[in-house]
């Protein structure tokens, strides 16, 4: 039998240190060029007077920030961003846990139900908003029609869901929750199924009923996963402008603006890139704080 060939010399593809750097390079270059640098530039813009019409860069210091603080729409956007996200996440977590529990039990027609439950998430945010645009229309809302039939609302009065400041906010929160619950449920479900069966069996043998098992075993053990779901949900809600844009366009009278949508209105619609940047910068501390808080919580809750 023939012997194998003479030993080859070590080549580039064997030098693991070099290889590691080379494999990492394209992604790093891309991110540097298209995220890191634009990020710094955008922050610089917020201190300038750049507009779409006049792209020359002139330093104006904190002028844009001062203007924002004087602008009631800005302060409203800031408040809304917090409030909408918090309310959305609370409701989402509650419903998502219920849905997750539902989807981990067996019943007939489960695949179909799961398909329907996932629809709100798999639909693009803007298109989901369109579905609700009709549902919440000031003239044609089917919900109004149902309320007429039940008698809770006097025909032909309308709730004007999106035109009334309070209802508009509720609608924005409601649609966000509707959209996020499937995603959160899927993440939480993954966490629930990773609880070792022995623990669940032990709880059952120990005499724990459904509710006790839920409170004292399932929920505590899935807390890290729930936290991750909250993290992703919060990031998505903080940074989302499509829902507000399509559903209410920030209205009525800018009452439902959030930082993301307001930054867009200022920057693109208004053409004032510098001001748009100044608004968007406020998203950063919120995001960072939320992430650190939740990641720390996850680390603490990580069991075995």
């Amino acid at each position: 039998m023939t012997a194998t060939s003479a030993p080859a010399r070590a080549r580039v593809t064997d030098r693991e240190g070099l290889l590691a750097r080379l494999m990492l390079l394209p992604a790093i270059v891309y991110i540097l060029a298209l995220v890191a640098i634009p990020f710094v530039v955008a922050i610089a813009y917020s201190f300038s007077d750049v507009t779409a019409g006049d792209p020359s860069f002139d330093w104006v210091g904190l002028e844009n920030y001062r203007a924002n603080l004087d602008d009631p729409v800005f302060t409203r956007s800031l408040w809304n961003t917090f409030f909408f996200t918090a309310a959305t996440m609370v409701l989402t977590v509650v419903f998502a846990n219920i849905v997750a529990l539902l989807l981990t039990t067996d019943f007939r027609g489960k695949w179909f139900v799961r398909f329907l439950i996932l629809l709100p998430w798999t639909t693009p945010a803007a298109l989901g908003a369109i579905a609700w645009l009709f549902m919440l229309d000031s003239l044609l809302s089917p919900i109004d029609w149902i309320l007429w039939q039940i008698g809770l609302l006097e025909e032909p009065r309308h709730v004007v869901w999106l035109g009334n400041s309070g209802w508009a906010k509720a609608s924005v929160i409601g649609v966000q929750v509707w959209r996020l619950v499937p995603l959160a449920a899927v993440i939480i479900m993954a966490g629930q199924t990773s609880i070792p069966d022995d623990i669940k069996d032990a709880a059952a043998i120990d005499g724990a009923g459904f509710w006790r098992r839920l409170w004292e075993v399932t929920l505590p053990l899935t807390l890290p996963v729930i936290a991750i779901a909250v993290l992703f949900g919060s990031i998505l809600t903080f940074t989302d402008m499509s829902l507000v844009s399509v559903l209410t366009n920030g209205g009525p009278v800018n009452q439902t603006q959030v930082l993301a949508s307001w930054a867009y209105v200022r920057g693109i619609d208004g053409g004032n890139l510098a001001q748009g940047a100044a608004v968007a910068v406020f998203l950063l501390p919120l995001l960072l704080a939320a992430t650190i808080a939740i990641l720390r919580a996850v680390r603490r809750w990580e069991v075995g």
Partner: protein
């Protein structure tokens, strides 16, 4: 060209960052062509790290690895003409058995028809020709081992490296697989370095055993030598089941193997050359026809718990709770220095 020494390590050392002692500490090793060398030791002793450095999966901190006389430090695994079988067998789950076996040949750019030929030859040798179109998940543990061996064989390496390949098999299968491996080695004759923590395996399979602890080699030798004349108390107690009995006396430790002790009355009056001592029997176990007597030994040194193994041929009735006279031939006694725990000559 026949290499007298297939694999050699010179002062091989590996210190992992953050470790408080070297995982492998200045190990000198030389295998003989065609031998079956076993690296034996408890987990953490460095045997696997040593194997991986020979393979090229781990870079040494100091020292040299030589294969076939050439220094191979810095060469990647694929350039070393070695074959390795991992504990998990590492079969490619997404390939068929045939593709698994042909995989190394593809790397050498061997044309498809030659690959087929070689794979068929290897599969025949290991009796798995019928499994060539199956996938790993459809195979039993024993079959997987044979596929791994076929894949290793197909490269015609100068050294086989085996990392605890029997650990994942259940006990019954392990004995069969062990015999398979021995037959395989006899058939193929390639130098083999085999890592295990199981001393029964080591004793049964090795031409020579390298006993390791804490990164250092404690003793090298054929099974019988390592068993009968251990170099220190660690080797003495690691090999043999039950382990060698160690009785402290003044500044020595006296050792004797459980099967070397006999009840005094078996020998009757012919007691020259034997040392007498007493065993206060605590408990008796019946294992595979032998009687294992657990008790306290006095008269050899400090009173110490020992185990004596009486074969079925010794009919002396023994009862727990009674003290008996026992003897050990003086040439069967081993002595170890109390401080260094290394073997020494009879002090008397």
């Amino acid at each position: 060209m026949a290499d007298a020494v297939a694999v050699e390590t010179v002062g091989l050392t590996k210190l992992f960052p953050g470790g408080d002692r070297p995982a492998v500490d200045k190990v000198d090793l030389a295998t003989e062509q065609g031998e079956y060398l076993v690296l034996l030791g408890p987990s953490g002793c460095g045997k696997t790290t040593l194997l991986r450095m020979i393979a090229g999966l781990e870079q040494p901190t100091d020292g040299e690895v030589r294969i076939g006389g050439d220094v191979v430090n810095g060469l990647p695994p694929r350039a070393r003409r070695i074959a390795m079988v991992f504990q998990s067998y590492a079969l490619y789950p997404h390939k068929t058995v045939r593709q698994n076996i042909e995989f190394p040949l593809k790397a050498e750019k061997i044309p498809a028809d030659k690959r087929r030929e070689r794979a068929a030859w290897a599969a025949d040798l290991l009796g798995i020709a019928g499994l060539l179109d199956r996938r790993p998940r459809q195979l039993s543990g024993g079959e997987r081992q044979r596929v791994a061996l076929a894949r290793a064989l197909v490269r015609e390496p100068s050294v086989f490296l085996l990392d605890e390949p029997l650990s994942n098999l259940d006990a019954k299968l392990r004995a069969v697989a062990r015999d398979d491996l021995k037959d395989f080695h006899k058939e193929v004759g390639t130098t083999t370095i085999y890592v295990t923590h199981d001393q029964v395996e080591a004793m049964g399979m090795g031409d020579r055993i390298v006993v390791m602890l804490d990164g250092q080699v404690r003793q090298v030798g054929p099974p019988q030598a390592v068993y009968e004349r251990p170099a220190d108390t660690f080797v003495a107690t690691f090999l043999g089941s039950p382990p060698m009995n160690l009785v402290p006396r003044d500044d020595v430790i006296v050792g004797f193997r459980p099967e070397k002790a006999l009840p005094a009355d078996v020998l009757g009056e012919r007691l020259d050359g034997h040392t007498r001592w007493s065993l206060d029997v605590n408990r008796i176990e019946y294992l595979s026809g032998d009687r294992h007597l657990h008790g306290l030994a006095t008269g050899l040194g400090k009173p110490t718990p020992v185990i004596v193994r009486l074969p079925a041929t010794v009919l002396t009735p023994i009862e727990a709770g009674t003290t008996y006279e026992f003897v050990v031939r003086e040439t069967d006694l081993r002595y170890f220095d109390s401080e260094t725990e290394r073997a020494r000559e009879d002090p008397s």
